[in-house]
Amino acid sequence: MRVTSTVSTTRAPERAARTTRSRPRKSKRRQIREQQWPAYVFLSPWMIGAVVLTLVPMAVSLYLSFTDYNLFDPPHWVGLRNYREMLTEDPRYWRSVGTTMLYVVVAVPLKLGLALGVAMLLRNLSRGRGFYRSAFYAPSLLGASMSIALVWKALFNDGGTVTDVLDSVGIHTGGWVGNPDLAVYGIVLLTVWQFGAPMVIFLAGLQQISPDLYEAAALDGASRLRQFVSITVPMLSPVVFFNLVLEVINSFQVFTPAFAVSGGDGGPADSTMFYTLYLYERGFTASHMGYAAAMAWLLLIAIGAITLILFRTSRSWVFYADEEGR
């Protein structure tokens, strides 16, 4: 590495000088190209990381998805069998898809709604906004951790605080964690509780909306609700869209809370068996890594497709202020 770099540094000036005289346009491009390589050297830690830690594992995962691989013996090629089995023979696969969809459809709107609501309240706060913003943001920093999920489990377990409080007001749940009808909603609440991250983004978006618009609307006699519907919503729609895409992508990949709350088995009775948890179980409990890899690829494709659909529909409801005049 050292040798080649010294060589090229000494030669580069000569070559560049020569070409400058004969073909000025090309030489400039060439010179730029020759000046670029130090940039690549500086980028190399990232590029090595991207190749070694992302691209290569992805390629291996794609290969493994067409094999039967139990972690211990060398993988052997089975073609599309994993995909066929998943889509046609495995009832649990479709149940995990259903559970994940339920989670996404319930958790994302609740979380974004709460985030927007609190952001609206904080916007008009003149004092202590920084404090409240940090306070509401804190769960987003903590929420993905195992320890919070375990605290959650303790709260919603049989004999946990939430269960006892509900019992005392006559709502007998018998512990959310052990109840297949409620377990998934315990995890939804854990997710919604982490509304701080989209809230901060909403808050920034709200502050971008010019007060002139509201003043003008108020002069015209528009009510608060009217102002919200006609000014806030359209002006904020790019931010809503951004948060929506982000949350949908994240929610499809929910893993840690379900893993921690169910003790790793997606129970009771598969009620918290999210897609990624089932993927993990197939891979690491049942040792079907090929099957798990195939699941991961279908998830990638599904998330890609859903994101694409979101982008397509966004044209009809997302309003970009800078496109206004065009």
Partner: protein
């Protein structure tokens, strides 16, 4: 000294120097990193990783034995980690995938063939030959449970048998005779109904039942099957039971649960250890378990807890002796010699034997077992006597080692029964689904 070049050229030159510096720096970094890993290979500070599963009682005893080993081997530090059985297996599989199986690792019977064939654990024949691990006091036939294609890959830590921990005070109160080795599943059902009829309450005010359910437990199912002359597996690729067998097993329990005679659904799904089992939470009078964890029950619940045989079908006992767990050495271990020394210490050192007692069932070293048996009292004496009684009563030959797919089938059984107890499937539907899943598992 030559003049530095002028004009438009010095800049790339300087960048190039920086680039070279950066590359140099990064090699320096990796250089230090490899120096680090070399340093950890130094014999003055060896760290062994040792992982196992088990309840608090076993954990405390194991820690104590490990600390004694450290004291006798200055410079060797043993980092221990343990967990409950289910998460332990997953963690180990993850570690095996990354080539990071701990130096000394506790393994389940059904993991041996997979871990040995996949070279996740190393053959021990060398360290046994040079007597780093002594096996002369162990039963040759029993040692065979840790072999794979003729090589010794793991050593059994104990000889275990299933049983039934029950609260004798409650049994007395309900007028139920002490369970004998020939008591039947019908006797069991009757006993549970009697206990439920007492109308006792748990600490949180809920009805007290006769026993945990056990319908989600593969060991209970296997004992029940064997008492009816069948097996879990006919061979490595075929189940030994039918949809009807499983439906009968689940329906029997489902009925008792609906009557309130055995633990309720929400308590069954939360039971993951001695402490969270229905008896551990004082919601039921009994729990299906193994002999090894039994002392943990009395430690938690008091001296009234006793150990009885699993019920039979018309006197035919389904329980059998099985290696309760085995010890192996991770194939990537940097210190196989010290790891072997730790294994030898745990299996053959009389003081370690005294500390560990019967926390992993009867020790495989006959001298240790006899020595420890003399000093045994309380629950450990009880499980020792229990093993003797069962040997005398007569047990069917143990089944061959389960296929690797058994791990998935074990969780499938648990999940299938959860669907039954929450009314999401009838016993027959769930049994049908389990058989399909098990067949897919076994043929792949």
């Amino acid at each position: 000294m030559p003049e530095p070049p002028n004009g438009p050229f010095p800049r790339p030159g300087r960048r190039a120097v920086l680039a070279v510096a950066a590359v140099g720096l990064s090699t320096a970094l990796t250089g230090t990193l490899s120096a680090c890993s070399a340093a950890s290979g130094d014999t003055s500070g060896i760290t062994l990783r040792f992982s196992w599963w088990g309840n608090d009682d076993r954990a405390a005893r194991t820690e104590k034995a490990v600390r004694l080993f450290e004291k006798e081997h200055p410079g060797v530090t043993v980092r221990t980690s343990n967990g409950d059985f289910g998460s332990y297996l997953q963690k180990l599989a993850t570690q095996a995938a990354g080539g990071g199986v701990p130096d000394v690792v506790q393994l389940d019977y059904r993991q041996i063939s997979q871990y040995a064939s996949g070279k996740a654990i190393m053959p021990l024949d060398g360290v046994i030959e040079d007597r780093t691990i002594r096996t002369s006091d162990m039963d040759k036939d029993f040692l065979r449970t840790g072999t794979y294609t003729g090589g010794q890959f793991a050593l059994p830590m104990g000889r275990g048998i299933t049983g039934y921990a029950y609260d004798s005070a409650v049994y007395k109160k309900a007028g139920i005779p002490t369970p004998r080795p020939g008591w039947t599943w019908q006797d069991w059902a009757k006993a549970n109904r009697k206990i439920a009829a007492l109308g006792l309450k748990s600490p949180d005010g809920r009805p007290y039942t006769g026993s945990n359910d056990g319908g989600d437990n593969e060991d209970v199912f296997e004992t029940w099957l064997r008492s009816r002359g069948k097996n879990l597996y006919a061979n490595q690729t075929k189940l030994g039971f039918t949809e009807d067998d499983l439906t009968a097993f689940w329906s029997f329990r489902d009925r008792l649960r609906r009557e309130g005679a055995i633990a309720q659904a929400r308590d069954t799904v939360q039971a993951k250890s001695t402490e969270t089992s229905p008896i551990g939470r004082r919601l039921a009078a009994a729990d299906f378990t193994w002999d090894a964890p039994f002392p943990g029950y009395t430690a938690l619940l008091g001296e009234d807890i006793h150990f009885a045989p699993v019920p039979t079908t018309d006197g035919r006992q389904g329980a059998y002796f099985k290696p309760s767990m085995l010890l192996g050495i991770g194939s990537q271990s940097g210190h196989p010699k010290e790891a072997a020394q730790l294994i030898d210490f745990l299996l053959n050192d009389p003081r370690a034997g005294d500390i560990l007692g019967f926390s992993r069932s009867t020790p495989p070293n006959r001298k240790i077992a006899a020595r420890v048996a003399k000093t045994l009292e309380g629950p450990e004496r009880e499980i020792y006597d229990y093993a003797q009684t069962m040997e005398k009563y007569g047990l069917d030959a143990p089944p061959t080692a389960p296929p690797p797919g058994d791990l998935a089938i074990q969780t499938a059984l648990k999940r299938g029964y959860q669907r039954v107890i929450y009314g999401m499937a009838t016993p027959r539907q769930a049994a049908r689904e389990l058989i399909d899943e098990a067949n897919r598992e076994l043929e792949s």
